[in-house]
């Protein structure tokens, strides 16, 4: 029999599959701290996250959250920075501290067998960081030098600018580090921020990997004994801002060969009913390699190496931003095409075939995501930090599977109006 290479083999649509989020265990440590954990995977590895409400949202002065994260591991009253790093790196472990808009997260990656050797030092860092003056000086200088290099890049400048336009620089989501902010940092700022917001009493701990009761006990031994009392710091409040500046053209590198384009708008957080269907619309529009934007602007016109649209959901709002770097001589044409694609989605219902493809792609990827311990943990972390349960996950799956092309068009009519977008071009 001659092999038919022209007809695709029959497929099972991913929208027909079941998507089961493997369960997570919730325990209370002896002192009442919550630990969420799950056992998955075959490698002898573990990830533990300590999540603090210590984001840019909480900083009393610009750049403090990032500096605190950057210096957390650089000294306690018992250990120097070198001793701390040495004791973590000796076991091949990684301890990362990341300051985000709403949270700061301390993440440990390690071989499970080394957990008892590592947790004492993590405990030291989380309860007794002292931010030595000379470490702060080095950190400030190197952070400024990094910033100077980054500022030469159009894409970096464009990212800063679009956030500032969407949220304003007085809002934590629109604020960005300037040289003078870093220079103005003082030890007292970091200590206050650490005391107020890196409080174990309000932390959430997440653990996944090849772990069981033994590891849960280990976490309890080191983090369940301390009497955790809340710092009493009040959650700040910021008022959403009216967009004033709609477009910006910045010349950053007169001899550059490319321009960076950012076109974005504010968008809801995960709690809004339009969020889940928007994930589908955004995927179709600019969220994957076969998207409208990529097909047109890269695969048909060759203006760019890549173009994407992404939704960033924060706790108090969020954004939807289209981002690309194109040849300097075609930035205008690319901008025009982006608006054309937005219009098209408002005016014309997507075909059933295209929608099915997007859903299958989205759900197929999700199936792979529900596979590894760390990606399962990440889903749970998002749910728990937002106060959701498994039902929210199941509901989103239902929406991904059933949203119609007409509903997506209505969504586009609501959210894809050119007038609602801000536009930045940096060359």
């Amino acid at each position: 029999m001659v092999l038919d290479r022209k007809t695709p083999p029959a497929i099972h649509d991913a929208i027909e599959f079941d998507y089961v989020l493997p369960p997570i265990n919730t325990v209370k440590l002896d002192n009442g701290l919550p630990l969420y954990w799950l056992n998955a995977g075959v490698q002898d590895v573990v990830e533990i996250d300590w999540v603090f409400r210590a984001g840019l949202w909480h900083e009393q002065k610009p750049s403090v959250a990032h500096a605190t994260a950057g210096l957390l591991k650089n000294g306690t009253s018992k250990y120097t920075a070198e001793q701390i790093h040495e004791s973590l790196e000796f076991y091949g472990a990684q301890l990362k501290v990341n300051a985000g808009n709403d949270f700061s997260t301390v993440t440990l990656y390690a071989l499970t067998k080394h957990l008892p050797s590592l947790l004492p030092m993590v405990y030291e860092i989380l309860t007794d960081a002292i931010f030595p003056e000379h470490e702060i000086e080095i950190h400030k200088r190197n952070a400024i030098q990094r910033l100077l290099v980054n500022l030469r890049q159009c894409e970096f400048v464009a990212n800063q600018k679009i956030d500032a336009m969407l949220f304003s620089e007085t809002h934590p989501y629109g604020r960005f580090s300037k040289k003078e902010n870093i220079e103005a940092l003082e030890r007292e700022d970091l200590i206050t921020f650490y005391k107020n917001w890196y409080s174990l009493a309000t932390a959430k701990i997440f653990m996944a990997g090849r772990v069981g009761d033994k590891e849960v006990k280990c976490v309890n031994d080191f983090f369940g004994k301390i009497k955790a009392t809340p710092s009493g710091a009040q959650e700040p409040n910021f008022i959403p801002h009216e967009v004033i500046e709609k477009t910006a053209q910045i010349v950053n590198d007169p001899n550059g060969v490319q321009g960076a384009i950012r076109i974005g708008r504010q968008f809801h957080n995960r709690h809004h009913p339009d969020y889940a269907p928007m994930v589908v619309l955004n995927t179709l529009f600019g969220g994957y390699f076969g998207s409208r934007l990529m097909s047109n602007i890269r695969e048909d016109k060759g203006y760019t190496y890549g173009i994407y649209s992404s939704i960033t959901p924060d706790m108090h709002g969020g954004s939807l931003i289209i981002h690309t770097e194109t040849g300097r001589d075609v930035t205008e044409k690319a901008v025009k095409e982006i608006y054309k694609e937005l219009d098209l989605l408002r005016n014309k219902v997507a075909s059933e075939d295209e929608l099915l493809l997007v859903k299958n792609y989205l759900l197929g990827g999700l199936l792979g995501d529900l596979d590894g311990p760390f990606s399962i943990l990440q889903r749970w972390r998002t749910l728990i930090l937002n106060g959701f349960t498994k039902e929210h996950f199941n509901n989103n799956i239902r929406i991904y599977k059933t949203v119609t092309a007409e509903e997506l068009r209505e969504l586009a009519q609501r959210y894809f109006k050119q007038d609602d977008f801000c536009e930045v071009v940096v060359v």
Partner: protein, 412 residues
Amino acid sequence: MLQFERFTLNNGLRVLVHIDKATPMVAMNILYDVGARDEEANRTGFAHLFEHLMFGGSMNIPVYDEPLQMAGGENNAYTTNDITNYHLQIPLKNIETAFWLESDRMLSLAFSEKSLDVQRKVVCEEFKEHYLNKPYGDAWHLMRKIAYKQHPYQWPTIGMNLEQIETAQLDDVKAFFYKHYNPLNAVMCVAGNITVKQVKELSERWFGNIPSGDKYVRNVAAEPAQQEARTQTVHADVPLDALYKAWHIGPRLTPPYYATDLITEIMGSGFASRLYQRLVKEEQLFSNINCYHTGSLDPGLVVIEGKIREGKSIEAANEAVEAELAKLVAGGVTDDELQKAKNKIEAMIAFEDMTLLSRANNLAFYELMGDAAMINKEWDHYQSVTKDFLRETAQQIFRTENSNTLFYKKKT
């Protein structure tokens, strides 16, 4: 320990099967034995440009991505100086789609003018984005040229310049395909909750009747041993001076390679590493510094690179690096340092093995090097490196006449 089975089709295609019963996905990895080192000096960047064209439609399938995405799959590819690797992941139930797509593009491409025309532009934008429109973006173009005089590692995978990409013709594309893309020059690994029998059947059906083609015989110029130190200084519009240093090392799969890997861990990976501790924290000559090696199949380079702290002299910084290396060569490392480096490697191997795709990719890569089973011996090779051997390796590498230095200075 990664389990696998393997068989070879009549046309010479090597197939590996890795069984993982826990996952609902299947990973397929196809590695072609061609990289930038196989390019002509006047057609650099071609292996990578070609990788882009592999998505522009094949003989019987007008577009590659759409049917894969419709089947819930995701894919990507990359080119290095040594190899070109294509990988995808798809729900197990749709495994046949993967065989259908990959076999058709191994059989023959569509060779469309439109695809070539667009991808030339796309790759030029990639070139600009990563190498031209970025401070220090051209440093590796320069560094490779300093360190390699004969071997094709003297150019990066993106290519020597834009012109060579802009002028690529369809005839070049065809010739490249027939020379390198055939069953004899490929290794495939399929991983997931599958059986060997199933993979055999599918492989026979979809790949079995692809003509073998000719085995490509690699004939690249060996790099002659370097005889004297090389130094170059450039000035560019950057905010800080930067120092790049490189030394030639031994080939993959030899004992010095493992020792070198451990040396880079001790010298320049992490905040507790020697170079970071001494030169960023104590002497404060650098604002950041890294030590790594290029990991190539033919003899590669060990590299130290860092940005000089504003106000400090790049010459003094260079001397300080040399002094640290002299200390390493004279005194070797401590037991603790060696143990730390080994612990890091052990953790790295475990984390790498977490994803199905990475396991499939690694198995294919080791098979290409000669035998997939070697992957399970890697940890032993690291384990057996002693302090003495590490020091001997350091002595061998960090000789003045083996050194290449690029002073990348800001324009004043």
